[in-house]
């Protein structure tokens, strides 16, 4: 979500470890968010 005051958030679930990761191990997943505030 992007707010008019410049703050916002980006949330995600089940992003999978890419092929550049260790190819010999099971691929992991991450979920989470980053949120931000904005100051002029």
């Amino acid at each position: 979500m992007i707010n008019a005051d410049g703050s916002g958030s980006f949330t995600f679930a089940n992003l999978k470890e890419g092929e550049q990761g260790n190819p010999t191990t099971a691929k992991g997943m991450i979920s989470g968010s980053y949120t931000w505030t904005c100051t002029d």
Partner: protein, 157 residues
């Protein structure tokens, strides 16, 4: 009998002692310094988003990631315009670059996340299909390990 000169010396010495005592009070009150140290600690390992960002202009980003890797903390990023300009976007139908992390160290891990919203139309909510990195898909990297879209991925900005 104490001479006027001696009385002056005693008064001067008393004044000096009082001044020293006065100075030591704030030193003993090193509470402000301790408070600053606490703030600095938060800047390194804060998980509540209050640590790394001061009052400077720009973005204060709070990261909370769990799963194969765990990252929690805050980082600061530049905003080249005003907050209102950022929210408005550069041009109607253009792309909006989300505040980016470029290998910023957060909670002891290097985090990169540099994604944008395609065809940005102003403040609101945007779904996975229009959130992409310059490589064309959502990208979040932790300690050089990239995490990318899978069939079961959901995302929203």
């Amino acid at each position: 009998m104490v001479s006027p000169t001696k009385r002056w010396l005693i008064a001067a010495a008393t004044a000096v002692l009082a001044a020293v005592a006065g100075c030591s009070a704030p030193t003993a009150g090193s509470a402000p310094a301790a408070a600053s140290a606490d703030t600095a600690d938060e800047a390194v390992g804060s998980s509540d988003g209050s640590g790394a960002c001061g009052s400077e202009s720009g973005f204060c980003i709070t990261v909370d990631i769990t799963g194969a890797a765990t990252v929690q903390g805050t980082a600061q990023a530049l905003n080249l315009g005003t907050c209102a300009d950022f929210a408005k976007g550069e041009a109607p139908g253009g792309d909006l670059q989300l505040p980016g992390l470029l290998g910023d160290e957060i909670g002891g891990k290097k985090v990169s996340a540099y994604n944008e919203i395609r065809e940005y139309a102003g403040p609101g909510t945007y779904e996975k299909d229009v959130i992409r990195s310059v490589a064309g898909v959502i990208d979040v990297s932790i300690d050089t390990t990239p995490y990318q879209l899978a069939d079961e991925t959901t995302a929203q900005a």
